[in-house]
Point group: C2
Chain length 243, copies 2
Amino acid sequence: MMIGFDAPDARLPAYARLRDTFTARIATGEWTPDHPIPSESRLAQEFDVSVGTVRKAVDGLVEEGLLERRQGSGTRVRAPSFSASLFRFFPIRETDGSPVSIPSSQIILRSVTQAPAPAASVLDTEDVIKIVRLRSLSDQPVLFEEIYIPTERFAGFDKLPESSLGPLLYPLYFEHFGVMVKRASDEVSFGKASERVAQRLRIRAGDPLAVIERTAFDIENRPIEWRVASGSATNFRYRSEIN
Amino acid sequence: MMIGFDAPDARLPAYARLRDTFTARIATGEWTPDHPIPSESRLAQEFDVSVGTVRKAVDGLVEEGLLERRQGSGTRVRAPSFSASLFRFFPIRETDGSPVSIPSSQIILRSVTQAPAPAASVLDTEDVIKIVRLRSLSDQPVLFEEIYIPTERFAGFDKLPESSLGPLLYPLYFEHFGVMVKRASDEVSFGKASERVAQRLRIRAGDPLAVIERTAFDIENRPIEWRVASGSATNFRYRSEIN
DNA sequence: TAGTGGTCTAGACCACTGT
DNA sequence: CAGTGGTCTAGACCACTAT
């Protein structure tokens, strides 16, 4: 009997240690969405456990959305579906309920700076890169965002060439820094537009503002981003599923 | 080999048919939170399958939150934790982020009526009971709610004695009508207070208003409630977890 | 057709709760 | 202590996919 595979995490059950080992392989890029991972029977051999135990470990990761099975074909790392992630992570709809198209994105600023209090407290560091961004729908600005990511995990983000910056940030995090957003926590509130924000959004200072504060977490549940997004409260819709 | 237990739902795998059978036992009240359900080995005997298959069925229901296991003690129907459900289903916080205490609840009206368009479309019937409710925190009104439930499933709700109406509706649904809320979908938007709503909330007509529209679903994913809740947008916080 | 995941079995031993 | 769920095994056969 094998005792600890890679990470001898205490005396957890075999399937749990396996699951952690697999997670590490995904996180380090040893397993990628390009190829199926080894078959369950192969993994059972490699780790000297029964197929059932491998299955239970894989089950957990499928549950978490990190892997996906295809009967007959194999099990793969799930490619983050970033086209869908806009809705997952910014479920704003038109007033009539129809999904909104992906807003275009204009990056106004990227700089290494000191985190404001809420970001520092959430990210547990003051050493951050700040991104300021304006998102628009058919040339109409809809969302003004200030985003903070820890320099430690995203060193050099401020120096990425403009050309590599698409309309979505989470794919960038993944492609350039191997950081995959797994979940996020949003907090919606209402306020009034400051002069500075109002100008960007082309509304008037004092106009009602919808504010979404978000903390995003990676696969290992570490906070990796804090952002505050503001948009005109008029026509604002925020959708949320509760289970 | 047994072919179909209770509900011969096509030719589903055994564990899936078992899971449905178990769900039915919960829904009909045959299994209650009072006593543990039969042990896995007993169920395996009863349905003439292996323990592993029973386990897989139970796993699914535990996953869904309908059952809970206790090692050594047994598996039980999960008593809906209604104290927690306020946060699950109305995750409003104080501005400082601390959880809010359960608001008191004053029912203003209960009556059989015709559903307004959005409720009728969601509930798929115009035959509803309307509940109007004011929720307050230390005598300060915070939320004005109009709630619609189908008469078909909640016949007699309007005639329940006042004394049996607690501060939370979902426990009532469960206790008196056997309807368990399993998930809900919220939509947050922004508006202005009408004269009528403003009076109830003790704010001024035209003041900024946060509006939450919710559709709640039962175990079988049928819509069972549509409500619209309004509160002053000032100090409003809505929290949402995205996975 | 060979190889994959999907289902299922009939056991085993362990960890825990209750009496 | 007997009984429960928790873990794990070493198979079997089926359904599906790719070649």
